[in-house]
Structures are given as C-alpha cells and as structure tokens.
Amino acid sequence: MKFLSPVLWQFLVKWMTHSALFPPEASKMASDMDALIIFMTLVSLFGLVVVGILVATFSVLYSKKRHPVAEQIEGSTLLEATWTIIPLGLFLVMFVWGAVIYFRAFTPPPNALNIYVVGKQWMWKAEHPTGQHEINSLHVPTGRAVQLTLISQDVFHSFSIPAFRVKREAIPGRYNTVWFEPTVPGTYHLFCTQYCGTAHSAMIGEVVVLTPDDYKKWLAESTSGMSLAQNGERLFASLSCAACHNDKPDARGPSLANVYGAKLNLANGRTVIADDAYLREAILNPSQHNIEGYAPIMPTYQGQVSEEGVISLIEYIKNLDSNYRINQTLTTSDLLPESHGKTAPAAQGVKQ
C-alpha cells in the first residue's frame, strides 16, 4: 500500500496513530516503528481474513447437508508451495524492515548527548555529564540525539519509554546503550518493564521533553555545581589513583591521558579499544585487563566504587586530554575536606 498509494498510506498511518491504539509519538523513530507495526497488523489481518474466509466458505459449501459425500483429495504441491513462499516472503519483508529499525535504535550516532542511567531496586538514577542528578525522571531536549548508557547495580531492569518506542535492558555488569531523538515537548511515561522484585510496578517515572531553550534553563537550575567529570576527579583523588596513574617516568601504572578510545595492548596479548565497558572492567577487575609492560599490581575496586562512582571516573578519564589534571589532582588532594559539606554523590557512592 505504501507503494500503491502513498497518500492513502499516510492517511491510514495518521488515523491509526491518532486513534487509541498507540501511545503518543514523541521521538523521531516513533513514526517509523508505528509504520512497521501497522504494516504487520495489515498483513496479519489479511492472513486472518484469508483463513477465516476459507474456513467459513468451506464450512457452508461443504457442510454435510449440502455436500453429503466427501471427495478424497491427496493434496497439492502447487498450493503447498504457495502457502510456503507467500508467508515466507511477507515474513522476510518484516524481518528486513525490523532489522533496519533495530540497528538504528541500538547504534547511537557519535555526536549524541550521553546520559548515564543506573537502575537499582526500585529507582532510576540519571546522571547528566554536566552534573545534574535525577531520580525517576529524565529531562531531555528536542531536536538532539540523546544516548543513554544504561547499567544496573543489582538485578535486571528495563528502561522503557513507550512514547519514544524505545526500550533497553539495564543489566548488572555491563553497559547497554540506546538512543532517541525527542521531537515533541511534553511529559511521558517511563516504565521499568523487566520484572525486578517487590516494587517493580513502582519503578516508574517520567520523561520530560523540553525545547532547547527550556532545557538550557533546566540545566542551569538543577545543576549540582560539579560536573560528572569533576566528581570523578574527586573520587580519583580520594582513591589515590594518581599514586600510580601519573605522568612520572617511574609511574607504576599507565598514563590515563588520551586513553579513552585508544587502542591498548594487554599483557595477555589481546588488543582492546578503551571504551566505557573496558574502563569499567579495568577499574573493577584489573587483573584481567593488565596493560603490557606494567606489573599486575592494581587492586580490585569491586565493591568499593558504586556504579555512579565508576561512571564519574570514566567521565573524568574521558575528559583527560593531558596529564596536567592528574598532576593537579595529586597536588591538590587537600581539596577534598573542604568539599565535604557540598553534595558529593561520588563520595556517597563509595559508602554504599
């Protein structure tokens, strides 16, 4: 129908999406997702009607009253081929169409605004790189690709925004990503859709889509005063990371400047790209990720740093383009006591 009559198709899509069968469409992907679902619904209706008509017509025409004598028919290879090939063809169209959407939803564009989301029983914590912390809500601007980097600190959760047609599992031990581009300002449902224990159905919240101007205002109003990287810097200092990871010639650990996104040679012969997942693993489970040329002396930070702490450390490392900052952190670690009065989520994270 899309090809036969684009106008009729548009009309049908509009009608279907504005009747109460779909949630509001508030992201760029939503209309594409709905088009696919409508296409599948039409194909299904067609299939159901064909089966229904066949059964009903045959039941009337060949009821015992009208047709007292059955004719024995063995089968028909032609018909078998027909109802093998036509459904298979239709299913393959759905498969390709669906795969296109799937690849797009789970391949964030490189310039996306990255927000970290940590799921825990039973709340969602969103960490903006600029230092805003939210619980059970998420503020995002229109007209900009937003990437979520999701992780859980306990069980499986699933971050679902029906209005964006987006859902991604937050699982313990690894980062999952998803992205969307909000289009319509408003407040939308945020659900946890993976069963996660007692208060699963209370693990809900709202996604607030703002115009770029309103979003700027919101950022200014809700800042904690410290960016995620700054939090990371504090944590870096308080964990004394710079004792080894510094620029000195006799440093016991590799330099972290420009390490994000770089190709690293590991002691076990593997080469890895230092992305979020790698950095997280290297902090929590260093013995498996030892860098070539360095002694395996780094202790594990498993259980000592919360997921938010790891996230801020990663943000810190991401923003290190020279070792200047590390050295500064080394020398100014007396900065810590005075900052205890302020909200320091990273430090809280350590306690948890």
Binding site: L21, F22, P23, M33, L36, I37, V43, S44, L48, L54, V55, F58, S59, Y62, S63, K64, H67, V69, A70, E71, Q72, I73, E74, G75, S76, E80, T84, P87, L88, F91, M94, F95, W97, G98, V100, I101, Y102, V155, F156, S158, S160, P162, R165, V166, R168, E169, I171, P172, G173, R174, H189, C192, Q194, Y195, G197, T198, H200, L284, N285, Q302
Partner: protein, 563 residues
C-alpha cells in the same frame, strides 16, 4: 468419488457398554496407583492435570481481580508478584507441558500404533509419580510463603535478591522436567519399536508425528533447563559465580540457558495440540488431511528450527546487533511451518462433508486464535518491533493466544473427541457446543484488550498501573469471568456424563484411526488381536468397506439364529 464414501454416524441407541474394559478389569485404589497400563496412567494424569489447571486458573482469577483497579487495592505488590509467579509456574510446568502428551498422547499413541502399551510401562508410571512429587512440592512452596521471581527465574534476582522459596520451586520444576523427559523418551521408543505390522511411518496418524516431534524436543531441551536450575541453586546456596558479574559470571548466560529450553518448550506445548487438530478436522470433514506429508514434515521442521530461535527473547538485553539479526531471521523460518499447517487444515475442509460437533467447534476456535497468536509472534520475532512490544501486555496477549487460545482449545477438542473412547460414554452435545462458544467469546474478551494495552506500553507483571489503562483492564477482567464459566462447564457435564452420558459404542465419530477399531472403553490389551495396518491413515473408503463387511457378517450370523 462413488457414494460408498458416505459414512453415516452409527445408531448409538443399540450400543452396549462392553463387559470387560481397562476400567473394570481391576478394582481398588492400588490397582490404579501401581498400574502399568498406559490408559490408566493417562486417566491419573488427566485428574491431576485438571486439579493443577484449576489452581493455576484461580490464581489467574486473582490476578485479573487485582488489575480491576489501577492501585494495589486487593493485595500487596508482594502478594501479587507471588501469585503471578505461581500462576506461571503451575500453568507452564504442571499443566501446559504435560497436558496433551501425558493424557491424550499416553492414552492414544499405543492404540494408534496398534500396540498393547507404551514400550516402557514402568517408566511411564514413574513419570506420573515424578510429576506428582514435583507438583506437590510446587503446592507446598505456594502454601509455605510462595516465590516471587516470575516463572522465568531471572538471575541475579533469583540467585541473590529474593528471600522466597526459589530453591523448592526450582526442585519442583527440576523433578517435573524429568517426568517430561521420561514421557518423551517413552514415546520415541514406542513409535520406533511398537508399530503394528504394516504401520509405516507415512501411515502414522499426524497426531503421532506431532508427538514424535514434541518428544524429541522434550528429551533434548529439558536437560538444559535442569542444568540452569542446578546452576541457580549452586549460586544461591554456595555462591558459585556463574551468573553473578561481580564474581566473573555472566548474567546473560542464564537467559541463554533458560530460553534454550523454554522456547522449544512452547513447541512442546503446542505441537501435540496441533496433532489433535489434524485428527479432529479430518474426522469431521470425513476427508484425509490435505497435504499429509507437508503437515507431518512441518511438525519436524518446527522441532528443528525451534531449537535455534531462543535468543529472540533477548533482543533488548544486550545481544550484539548481528546476533539479533540472525535469530530474527531464524524466527521467521519457524513461523512458516505453522502457516503451512493452518492452510492445510483449512483445505482439508474443501470438498469435505462437514459436521459441527463440539470437537470441531474447538478446532475452529483453535485455528482462529492460533492464527492470531502465531502472527503476533511474528511482531515479536521481528527485531525492530520487538523493542516496543516486548515486556508489555502485547507479549502476555500473544502467548495466551497461543497457549490458552491454541493449546487449551486443542486439549478441550481432544477431550471431547476421545472422551467417549476413554469412558465409553458421550458428553451432552448441545451443552458442550455452548461451552465451546462461551470459551471462545470469553477468551477474546479477556486477551484481545491486552494487545492494545501492550501497544500502548503497559508493562507486564505490574501490580499497579497508570489509570489510563483501566478501561481495557476492566474489559479483560470481565472477559476472564466469562472464560471461567466456559472452563467450568465442561468439568461439570463431563463428570455428569461419566454416569449419565449416552453409551458411545466403538466408533461414535466413524473415525479411521486404529484406536476407534476396538471397543470403548478399550480392553487393557487394547486389541483382541494385533491389528494389521493395510491402508493409509484417514482412509474413509477403507472404513466404509469395513463397515459393510461387518454388516454382512451380522446379517449372515442372524440368519442361522432365526433358523
């Protein structure tokens, strides 16, 4: 074809109950509890399955009652979580998986093959005992505080975070799993070794083909879920880090292991039901199943492809995109054999001579609801649309259309169809036709609104939900009430018919299977002499000739008695 293919239903007023049958050969409770007779074991299963079905059904009723209002008004969230978990565990492991194979399959496979019993009668009894032990443990679990992991036992929720009876539920499922493995093994051995002379593979009724395919799945798939349960138990008790990422485990590993069984398990549940539908549609259109080989091989195809699609339950959990691509493609392939079956059944009606007794009504219900259930499965197998629809009520509606709309309809169809063979008495036709219609209407009212709820984004397993979803939930609960009546009716009139039903006679439907060529209820040995299969399955002309021969014999034997 000639008029000799007219098969009229026999006059039941002259039918007599046979003096000796498997039901009255031995008496006393021990003669049932220690029996090796596949027919008696089938009856034991039927009674216990019905019991579990009504427990699971009552739990479903409580779920629907709670969901009448957006708040948690009837019970606390914890209670709700325990109830839907037990509903799932009981319905999946103690009703759906054994339902058709353990009752109808157990009763009929030896008879359809022309055998005296299953190959391993004692193993057959052992599987019933394992089932009962597992089931009792599940009931005990429920009574002693329940479990709230969901029937999917997702780690690390099940291994670290809940304090409820995960272990005893796991053991219950583990034991029931062995019951299922033994049943499958028994069927495979029987179908290979116990066929009557002349019963070649392509003369087997399609019911047997479907059970063969399901048995292979049981034997190969169930051990994997058993392993997964053992690993969960080890991690929960002694803290071995298999799934726990902080100990180097992989939480997705559990999903792989669990769905490696639990996806094929849905084919374990539905394939035997498809077998029932093939028999019923052929019998009531008085016609050989259209495309016998295609239907037979589609069962095998489902069993094979069914093993390679499990990760479509994990699209949003963090599979690589390419893995999702592959599993989505394979899922499309497994959808095709089901379509083939549906169309072949529809064309079996073509130029048939159709009557609309209760089993046929249920079979029509099956075709409609299973088509919807199957096609909505394609929505979920398509990787892109799965993102929006998974973990919502769309999934709940989809698998209830397949499992309840499909499987349960097939089960009821089979119970009405072979009930007269099992008990020797007919059910009341008009009342049961009514029950079939009530079930169909109630079912659609219950589960259709859930598709819309899912599209709108309502998550599954929610004790409380946003108020805008209430209208559709009220519809669903109202439908469930009707559905409940639809299920209660058969229990009542089938029990009534045990004593007051019309006497069925050997072959009340004039069906062609070997099971109908012996008395109802059958002898313990099934047949007086080993039958010889000299014709294809669903050969109604052969049946007509048999009937003519019998009539002539009767006439011939009447003449001397007069003289």
């Amino acid at each position: 074809m000639s008029s000799n293919t007219i098969v009229t239903l026999p006059d039941q007023s002259t039918a007599k109950m046979p003096k000796l049958s498997y039901l009255n050969k031995e008496h006393g409770i021990l003669s049932w509890l220690l029996t090796g007779d596949h027919k008696r074991i089938a009856i034991l299963y039927l009674v216990s399955l019905t019991f579990f079905f009504f427990i699971g059904g009552s739990l479903a009723g409580l779920i629907r009652l709670e969901l009448l209002t957006p708040q948690t008004s009837l019970m606390a969230a914890d209670t709700y979580n325990k109830i839907f978990t037990m509903h799932g565990v009981i319905m999946v492991f103690f009703f759906l998986v054994p339902s058709v194979p353990a009752t109808l399959g157990n009763f009929l496979i030896p008879m359809m093959l022309g055998a005296k019993d299953l190959a391993l009668p004692k193993i057959n009894l052992l599987s019933w005992y394992l089932y009962i032990i597992g089931g009792s443990l599940a009931i005990y679990t429920m009574a002693s505080g329940g479990v709230d992991t969901g029937w999917t036992f997702t780690t690390p929720l099940s291994t670290h975070y809940v304090n409820t009876n995960v272990l005893s539920t796991g053991v219950a499922v583990f034991i029931a799993g062995f019951s299922s493995i033994f049943t499958g093994l028994n069927f495979i051995v029987t179908i290979h070794r116990m066929r009557a002379p002349g019963m070649t593979w392509f003369r087997l009724p399609l019911f047997v083909w479907a059970h063969y395919a399901a048995s292979v799945l049981m034997v190969l798939g169930t051990p994997v879920v058993a392993i997964a349960i053992v690993l969960v138990a080890l991690e929960r008790t002694i803290g071995i880090g298999v799934f726990d990422p902080t100990k180097g485990g992989d939480p997705l590993l559990f999903q792989h292991l669990f769905w490696f069984y639990s996806h094929p398990a849905v084919y374990i549940m539905i394939l035997p039901g498809m077998g029932v539908i093939s028999e019923v549609i052929s019998t009531f259109s008085r016609k050989r199943v259209f495309g016998y080989t295609a239907v037979a091989f589609s069962s095998v195809a489902i069993a094979i492809f069914g093993f390679f699609v499990w990760a479509h339950h994990m699209y949003i959990m963090g599979l690589s995109n390419y893995a999702a691509l592959l599993f989505s493609l394979l899922t499309m392939l497994v959808a095709v054999p089901s379509a083939i079956k549906i169309f072949n059944w529809a064309f079996t009606l073509y130029k048939g001579s159709i009557t609309f007794e209760t089993p046929m009504l249920y079979a029509f219900g099956f075709m409609g609801l299973f088509t919807i259930g199957g096609l909505t499965g394609v929505f979920l197998g398509t990787s892109g649309s799965d993102i929006h629809l998974t973990e919502t009520y769309f999934i709940v509606a989809h698998f209830h259309f397949v499992m309840v709309g499909g499987m349960l309809m097939a089960f009821l169809s089979g119970i009405h169809f072979w009930g007269p063979k099992m008990t020797g008495r007919m059910y009341p036709e008009k009342l049961s036709q009514l029950a079939a219609v009530v079930t169909f209407i109630g079912f659609n009212f219950t589960f259709f609104p859930q598709f819309v709820l899912g599209m709108l984004g309502m998550p599954r397993r929610y004790a409380a939900y946003p108020p805008e979803f209430q209208v559709l939930n009220v519809f669903s609960t109202a439908g469930a009430t009707v559905l409940g009546v639809g299920y209660l009716l058969p229990v009542l009139y089938l029990v009534w018919s045990l004593k007051y039903g019309e006497i069925a006679g050997d072959n009340p439907w004039q069906a062609t299977g070997l099971e109908w060529q012996t008395q109802s209820p059958p002898l313990t040995e099934n047949f007086v002499a080993t039958p010889i299969m000299d014709h294809d399955a669903y050969d109604y002309e052969w049946l007509e000739k048999q009937n003519l021969a019998k009539q002539n014999q009767q006439k011939a034997s009447e003449v001397p008695s007069v003289g």
